[in-house]
Symmetry: C2
Amino acid sequence: MTREKLFEQIQTKKSFLCVGLDIDIEKIPSHLRNLEDPIFAFAKEIIDATHSYVVAYKPNLAFFEFYGVQGLISFGKIIRYLNQNYQDHFIIADAKRSDIGNTSSRYAKAFFETYNVDAVTVAPYMGRDAIEPFLAFENKYAILLTLTSNPGAFDFQFSESDGQKLYEKVLKTSQDWNGSERLMYVVGATKATFIASIRKIIPNAFLLVPGIGSQGGSLDAVSKAGMNHQCGLLVNSSRGIIYKSKNSDFAEAAMTEAKNIQEEMAIYLSQKGLI
Amino acid sequence: MTREKLFEQIQTKKSFLCVGLDIDIEKIPSHLRNLEDPIFAFAKEIIDATHSYVVAYKPNLAFFEFYGVQGLISFGKIIRYLNQNYQDHFIIADAKRSDIGNTSSRYAKAFFETYNVDAVTVAPYMGRDAIEPFLAFENKYAILLTLTSNPGAFDFQFSESDGQKLYEKVLKTSQDWNGSERLMYVVGATKATFIASIRKIIPNAFLLVPGIGSQGGSLDAVSKAGMNHQCGLLVNSSRGIIYKSKNSDFAEAAMTEAKNIQEEMAIYLSQKGLI
């Protein structure tokens, strides 16, 4: 998907909501658990119910790998279902991969070709040659961990060197990598106070912002600090939407929650003059 | 596997060799490619031929994920084959995972319970809560990326803050994490000149050392700088062993190469007085 197409979707749906598909069989309604593929069945109902309010879906690989081969079958089915039925949506494999160059290129092909998603989250520690293989695919994106939403973010990401913090160095250094126009960045909503300074370093790139909902980040604060001329934000909620109800009305409850967030997003998009 | 058991294996086999199973169907002998599961068939022959000279096997997940669900089926079969036939071997899933706490615990369960490997490589950028879930399993290990063998290692790992480089901070900080006695560390053989100083920070932990063979690191230098009272090293070769011959004698060629490396390792173990 081109960046322009992504922005068009944001304008059309008046939404920059990403729904995280972190599917745990223990948490899905009991009537689905005995189906042949409960993970896919749950995801399909969530997607069908929420797609009008959502621009991106983000399945997290950990939740699929947990179920072994069957989990990966479900993951593949979800990606195919999205690609066949909702081509307008941006699909993010939240995998946080990276490895030495020749190995990273296997991961990149796995996600961009074998599964055909639009973007993969990647980890910066191993540097340039671990990330560039993900940046070699037209209209595909690598979303680089920058400032994460978890408490452990403070262990290393704020280490200061030559007057800049590690996450700032990640932002700046990655600008020089081949294909850097296909980089997006993960910035946790719980770190919203840092988003304005991040925007100075990367005015144009999209940010994937997890951490609203269960993790406690503020959509208002993220939007005010992070929105650019193409919105430039994909704000994710996972558990807060997909497990809004644990009963048979889960899809309707997810839809209502997605709609509520979308309506708040529409206000911020309008205030910024983007819709 | 306990650390003592691992050291016993090293003494018995006079080897601290780890064989990386980075299996690319394009690179395996043509007579195997038409089998139902060429990846497993190739791995099985490599394992059967080399197991006497090897203490650890390290399948890299990127190479399996590349083939989608079929690749993960092969991965599972290889792990089961090793666990059933060669229980003495230490199995490392080279996956370089990490995520926020509740998600990392899914990855940990995937690898330690669903697949039942002994260790998983993990990435430090997200800090404590991303790694601790991997340290909660008895006799299982998380192998933390520290100083990697690739050129991109210089992008961030040497960033200096408060008089210490990032990789040194990773070593020191991780000592305080719950379950840190189950941490091992990835240090590339191409960075052997740094191993002596790393040993001062972590005298007892095992190091997983990739980068001899195709990547050009020196076994002699690594051994002299890194060996401790329990050896404390697992030195990996992947392509240099498994693709030593591309013909039907590939398993024999792999065995000869593994044996050659083992014989060199026996010298270093003997010089250190460990055998």
